[in-house]
Amino acid sequence: MATVQLTDVVVEYRDGNQVLRPIDGFSMTASPGELVLLMGPSGSGKTSLLSCLAGILSPRAGRVEINGVDLAVLDENAMSAHRRHDVGVVFQAFNLVPSLTAEENVAVPLLAAGAQRRLALARARQLLTEVGLLDRLTHRPGELSGGQQQRVAIARALAHDPAVILADEPTAHLDHVQAEGILRILRRLAAEGRVVIVSTHDRRLVPLADAVVDLTPVVAPAVDERPVVTLDANETLFQQGDPSDFVWVVLSGQVDILRDTPDGLETVATCGEGSYFGELGPLLGFPRSATARAATDGATVEGFDIPGFREAMGDKLPDSWGALAAH
């Protein structure tokens, strides 16, 4: 039976002159019959993981295996076959072809695989019946409600009876009545022995899940309320992508703030004595967006948690900081 396994997966994007790494060293497994939720804020990498599993996105590093097959070894044709046969994808925006009827939309993956039209439409009718849309076979997407469209999308994902169903925010555009119907179907699909992986913000799904993967960036627990660190020249205090812990104030020397770019590290600022850096990460719960490295020998910095930092800096903080902290 199908097993999904991700090992040390790194996903990296280039956005202009920045390198973003929403997934860094991620591993997980999912077994048949499991409904796994990927939860986390926007930008935490939920959709990136689904894209990797669907074979749409190649990770920068790590292995993505479905049924023991490493997706990295598949050529384009084999990858298209993987998308058709091994995984079924349900999109947040449904992505039904507007010119096709419900049954034709469901038949598309079968037709793409070379199935006879008559057989493909018969299978589509069977699947639409299973999701409760027997009376909507000849309706086009524009004639269906959001929940009905999502059920058509689920039926399309099931066309080849794949072992893995990937659903990206499947309830995002639905009211609670429609969402309940979709959740019931997803739960049933898992109960039938499939791996169902759902990315969502919707906490209503948590009680239905067999496993929840929280992709919320970790804020490192403070082990020392106000650590003081002395660095040699070029010694790194923290790296881009690390969990955020403290706001750092420079007591002496200088610290460079560096950002990963496609061409390597680029210095975006140099902080001297009395200045501070790294305040937004711990405040907002984001990972570090840059690397801090000593520019001079013996550079000394002191770390503050958010309340401590506010207390220590008092009036020296700009107004914008107050608004952010209050938020």
């Binding site: 384009e76 298209s80 998308r83 079924g88 999109f91 947040q92 010119s99 598309v108 993956p109 793409a112």
Partner: protein, 351 residues
């Protein structure tokens, strides 16, 4: 995957119908231009061949009897008739003239043929009778004249006693046939001049100062002044094909742009690039093939609007469909980049 392409055609039918009509009109115009161009040579060939001569005897130094004006004495025909190898020899007068029609103020251009009774060059008839007396003429029915109509050419008046058909030159100039003597009276003030002798058989030798032309050389001579025009017509045809490709290409490209998200989703669920490209090609081919079929009807409907005869040859009609299909494929090629560059990850973006 034809289903998606066909359904999309239905879905955007208004746009495609407009595109088909626009393309069909362009194709119809190319057919008509082709008909004009083809007819120019065909009508000359038909008219020259209808004389029934194996050779044309003309004055040395000219390329043909119509494009250059060079006369010879009437008795050259008698001499030619006696040349060894000649079976028959008849004098021909062949001139571009203007014709005044009784009851109309504006003159009409014609090609005036002087031929001997029962000789080479006498036209077949579609109505009336042949020339039997002085002052009688037979005219091509493209002129619109009927028997009993009276026309004046030069100083001669002619009563139409019969009509022939398919005897035009230079894009529909009708021919008027009269006796050699009447033509000489009308345009040479009775001087016994002719321009050529139509020969059957091949003379062993020629009189000094004359040369032989084949019917093909005579056709080439008549066609020479029209070469630039036919070249221009052919060039306009090619430009119209390009315009048709641009119309179809624009429609397919706009459709492809609108379907970007569809392409992303289809690729994400395992539909290959080749299938998507084939779907676009099918749309382009269908649009142009339907337009090509429609263009035949449009061309036939437009033909009466043209003052020149048109020849829609079978080859032009048969060629139109495959060329239209090729245009459709080339037009849809404009959208290849759109399909190839569509990232399936786009399917995960929120609407």
């Amino acid at each position: 995957m034809w289903l998606i392409s066909l359904r999309d055609l239905q879905w955007r039918r208004r746009r495609f119908v407009i595109g088909i009509l626009a393309t069909a009109v362009l194709f119809a115009i190319t057919l008509i231009l082709s008909g004009v161009s083809t007819n120019m040579r065909n009508e000359v060939a038909r008219t020259v061949e209808s004389v029934g001569a194996d050779h044309w005897l003309v004055t040395a130094g000219i390329e043909g009897p119509l494009a250059s004006v060079a006369v010879m004495p009437m008795d050259v025909a008698d001499k030619a008739r006696n040349l060894p190898g000649v079976v028959r020899a008849d004098p021909i007068v062949m001139l571009r003239q203007s014709m005044h029609i009784e009851g109309r103020s504006a003159p009409e251009d014609i090609v005036l043929f002087g031929v001997v009774s029962d000789g080479l060059g006498v036209p077949g008839l579609v109505s009336g009778r042949g020339v039997a007396a002085t002052g009688e003429a037979v005219i091509d029915d493209w002129s619109g004249l009927r028997t009993t109509d009276v026309v004046t050419v030069g100083t001669g008046a002619f009563t139409i006693v019969g009509t022939t058909t398919g005897r035009t030159i230079a894009g529909g100039l009708p021919t008027l046939y009269a006796s050699v003597e009447d033509v000489q009276d009308a345009v040479f003030q009775g001087a016994p001049f002719i321009q050529a002798v139509a020969l059957q058989g091949t003379p062993d030798a020629l009189p000094d100062g004359y040369r032989l032309l084949s019917p093909t050389a005579v056709v080439d001579d008549v066609m020479r002044p029209m070469q630039r025009l036919t070249y221009s017509l052919n060039l306009i045809s090619i430009l119209l094909w390009a315009a048709a490709a641009a119309v179809v290409g624009s429609i397919i490209y706009l459709t492809a742009v609108e379907r970007t998200r569809d392409f992303a989703a289809l690729r994400a669920i395992g539909v290959g690039r080749r299938a998507l490209l084939a779907g676009l090609a099918v749309q382009g081919i269908l649009v142009t093939a339907i337009a090509a079929l429609l263009s035949f009807g449009i061309a036939i409907a437009m033909m009466p609007m043209f003052p020149t005869p048109l020849t829609l040859t079978g080859s032009a009609v048969i060629l139109l469909v495959p060329v239209a299909v090729l245009v459709g494929v080339l037009a849809s090629a404009a959208s290849i980049h759109r399909v190839l560059s569509t990232d399936p990850a786009l399917a995960f973006a929120s609407a």
